[in-house]
Structure formats: C-alpha cells, structure tokens
Symmetry: C2
Subunit: 155 residues, 2 copies
C-alpha cells in the first residue's frame, strides 16, 4: 500500500475543522479538542502547515492559527508537500545522484518522473474544499481530476 503518512491525514482533519468554525483564529488546543487528536500532535501539524504558508499564525496572548487561503485555493498536493515533503514516489528522482543504488546499471533513471508528475497532477485536482464536503455518496466528481476510465475499483 502506498502509505500516506498518518500525519497528513490528521492535517486534513484539522484543516476542515478550521473551516467549520468562524473566521477567528483557532488555538492549537481548541482544535485538538474538536478533532479528538492529542494536542502536541496537532501543534506539530500546525507548525508544519504554517511553515509552508498554508496557515497564518499569530503569536501572543490571543494568538492562534487561521487558514492562509480560501479552502478551494488549497489542494491536497500542497498539504502532503507540507507534511511529508516533496511528492516523489521513488528515490531515483531527478536531481539526486547516487540515491538509487543501481543507477549505473539501470537504463531508466528518470522515467519515474513521469509517474511522479501524473500523481502530482491527480493530487492537485482535489481541493481542501472538496475534502470538507460533509459526504457525497455519488461519484459526480464536480471538480476532481478528469476521471480516467478507471478499469476496476479493486486493483
């Protein structure tokens, strides 16, 4: 299974929790209470998100975090990049020499970039606003990725 780190999952939970509140700033502790996640973990996530510019932080006595942009201007790719680092599936990515142990023998160094690009594009097609929609049983896909004709659901 291509594991997305659990922290990234939590990040989406926290961010959607912020959407549902009013526009005011949210403190890390209040978000932890509303999401049921441990407070230090929430704090860690918020810090990572703020570092990448997805959150606007305000220090001091009445400080807190706010979303830096509108929910539909934030996509899943950005959240993943903030928590897990750049989106690259393999070690043999473009700029890293010597990362892959067999690169001297492997004639296909760099072709994973095509895969990376495809995945990245798919992730950019899903916004935070999409994730925040309460539930949608129908596969209407109003603004998701261009819906390849997925061969089967269970691959």
């Amino acid at each position: 299974m291509i594991r997305l780190s659990k922290l990234t999952d939590y990040a989406v939970v926290v961010m959607t929790a912020m959407i549902q509140g009013d526009g005011g700033p949210h403190t890390a502790i209040s978000l932890a209470e509303r999401t049921g996640l441990p407070a230090p973990t929430v704090s860690k996530i918020l810090k990572l998100l703020a570092r990448d510019g997805l959150m606007a932080s305000h220090r001091g006595a009445t400080g807190g975090y706010r979303l830096a942009r509108a929910p539909d201007a934030i996509n899943v790719a950005q959240i993943i990049a903030a928590i897990d680092g750049p989106i690259a599936l393999t070690d043999c990515v473009e700029g890293a020499p010597g990362a892959c142990g067999v690169e001297s023998l492997c004639p296909r160094r760099g072709n994973w970039d095509r895969v990376n690009r495809a995945v990245r594009g798919a992730l950019e097609g899903v916004s935070l606003a999409d994730m925040a929609r309460p539930s949608f049983p129908d596969p209407l896909l109003p603004k998701a990725a261009p819906a390849l004709p997925a061969t089967a659901d269970a691959i």
Copy 2:
C-alpha cells in the same frame, strides 16, 4: 515524501531488464546479474509478481520467468499493487471500520476515496513500456494521464 517501497522500484528494473532480453525465460539469477541487485531480493520480487499474474513462471530444470503480457498491457498501478498491496493512501478507506482512530469525530470519512481514485487513475496511465523507453527528455506525454494544468513543478 510519499514513499513507494524500494522493492517496487526494483520490480520495474527487473521487468524492463526482461524486455530487453530475448523472448526466452529468464532465471532469477541471470536477472540479478544483469540488474546488479542481490539475487534473493530479485527472487522475492519475481515471486510476488508471479503471484499476481504479471509473470509466467516455469519450474524445473530449465525453468524461469517470462512476462505474462505485452509490456504495454502492464501498467505501473498493477506492479505497485503486486508488491505493495492495494493502492490506498490512507487508513480510512471505504471498507475498513475502526481503522482510523478519529473516525467518530471526523466528518469526512470516505472523502479520501476520491484522492485514491485520482492517484490510481494516474498510475494506470503509465505502462511498463513507457518506463522501458530508454530516455525521453520531452514532456510529450503520449499516453500518460490527461495532464492537469500542473501549477508548478516544485510543489
């Protein structure tokens, strides 16, 4: 970084090495020599691929492995599924109750399926034949995923 397991990377290396040989069966040891990977690891990979029907194996004295299908009839999603298991980015996928610890509080259970579908579609758009192409500096994307307007290359 969304890590794809290193074994999956190796699987593509091994499979492309098979393409470049003649049509005859390849033994695990000969493939290990040609790819520079340790023999037990190659054997393990081949076993996994054979179990999922991507390889045709022949036992006995003159046995070996062959590709079960043409290179352009095998896509990256299938290889990943064979090595890493089903493609699902998060623990909170459709059929797993209790997998995610916060599911009772999280109102968005199941929305990750949209992301999963998008990624899966992107992966299905890249075939093994694409990966075997010696090198392609141009982003023509002859048969890759429908190319969303990627915002930037460095996300």
